[in-house]
């Protein structure tokens, strides 16, 4: 077996982190995307820009601010400590918070595009049939936006798997808690264990290619983002 116990631990941890992050992002991201797709408020621009920030910011910026904000001297850290939760830096919870922020645009933007593409018409029709807004969302919007949800889930999951900088800065490299695959690969390379680095890095490459292949093949003729 070319992968040892700590490699397998890192793979399992990465899977847990990416799954949980994707789930949270679908719950949090859907209302944000819906609002962004429908609103005429002037806040649409600023909120859209904030959601898109992780696309352009280096992970070191996000990691640095999280390290300060979540720490015992930061405002989030002081709040969590006051609530008796302690600080979340160096914990799995901390990584989930970082990943949700980091992967946010990869979930919100495909959903927003899907919602926009539905347009006003189906909603108006549903309304004339006396469907309540909630009915309308569950029975009209969700089915029509299904491809958007699939794209959002795949991108959110894959992007979290590929996360490195934020984890490196707030994780503390703790086995089975914060040492994800990308950090484990970095460790192997630094320790000059190139053979082990190869196995993990190769697996990562194949995984990422297959995910994107599935995504692009299923959306023939359309951009993977819409």
């Amino acid at each position: 077996m070319p992968l040892d116990a700590s490699d397998l631990g890192a793979i399992w941890l990465t899977f847990k982190l990416a799954s949980l992050t994707t789930l949270i992002l679908l719950l949090v991201g859907t209302p944000i995307a819906w609002w962004l797709a429908r609103t005429r408020s002037w806040l649409r621009g600023p909120v859209g820009a904030v959601v898109a920030l992780p696309l352009v910011l280096p992970p070191t910026v996000i990691g640095f601010y999280l390290l300060l904000a979540l720490g015992p001297n930061g405002w989030i850290g002081q709040t969590t400590e006051a609530l008796g939760l302690g600080t979340v830096v160096f914990s799995f919870t901390g990584l989930v918070i970082g990943s949700v922020i980091y992967s946010m645009p990869f979930v919100v933007q495909p959903l927003q595009n899907a919602f926009t593409a539905i347009g006003e018409r189906p909603l108006e029709v549903a309304a004339t049939l006396r469907a309540s807004p909630w009915d309308c969302f569950v029975h009209v919007v969700l089915p029509l936006a299904r491809p958007g949800f699939i794209t959002a889930s795949i991108l959110g999951f894959a992007h979290t798997v590929g996360e490195f900088g934020v984890v490196l800065m707030i994780g503390g490299n703790i086995p089975d808690k914060t040492r994800v695959v990308s950090v484990q690969i970095f460790d192997h390379v630094e320790a000059m264990e190139y053979q082990q680095a190869h196995w993990l890095a190769g697996a990562m490459l194949v995984f990422s290619f297959l995910v994107l292949l599935a995504l692009y093949s299923s959306r023939r003729g359309k951009s993977a983002w819409s």
């Binding site: 390290l67 300060l68 979540l70 720490g71 015992p72 001297n73 302690g86 600080t87 830096v89 160096f90 490196l168 800065m169 503390g172 490299n173 703790i174 970095f186 460790d187 390379v189 630094e190 320790a191 000059m192």
Partner: protein, 252 residues
Amino acid sequence: MSKCAPRFALAALATFMTFNSAWADEVQVAVAANFTAPIQAIAKDFEKDTGHKLVAAYGATGQFYAQIKNGAPFEVFLAADDSTPAKLESEGDTVKGSRFTYAVGTLALWSAKPGYVDDKGEVLKKNEFKHLSIANPKAAPYGLAATQVLDKLKLTDATKGKLVEGQNITQAFQFVSTGNAELGFVALSQIYKDGKVTEGSAWIVPASLHEPIKQDAVILNKGKDNAAAKALVEYLKGPKATALIKSYGYEI
């Protein structure tokens, strides 16, 4: 506009000449993260005394090894250990006979809070902290030394769930300085200037508790014909640089 033109041309010429003269005898140095502060001070003197220019990159020794093996343009390597330069030498990547120990590192247990760490390190045994920060022992010599200290004090099991690792000694320091870890093992050079600890509280770990952290320097093949590379190595061995290195808490 026309009045400005000659002045602009002169400025451009001056800029060009500055770049040109600096280019002629510049040395690219890969520097272990723990030696960041001393090399910056040394660079100033070195540039003034010799006219050569020193361009430094800071990082983890293991990472530099990978970069050097893959064609990085470094001419001199100031490592955080003695095994990596020796390995490069045995693999034919260095100028024969150029390897020497430029500093012996000192480990310190440090907290950003004043009074938190006592001068005997009893705080470790009391074990009331939540996080103890160290550098990655697989890649960083200071991290390895930290684990040896914990072993020697028989605290390895007691601290196991509390260790957080920085990728190099700079990150181990950062975890402590931001308060996220109450204390951590850092390089004395990071918190020491002119014979005293500059902030927080620290225990200077006795050298008997770990293997010596011998830091070796070497001229790499890329610096073979560069006079500035040779000059830097000689300068590091000289009395002025040695005194400076000691003032940061290294032995030599």
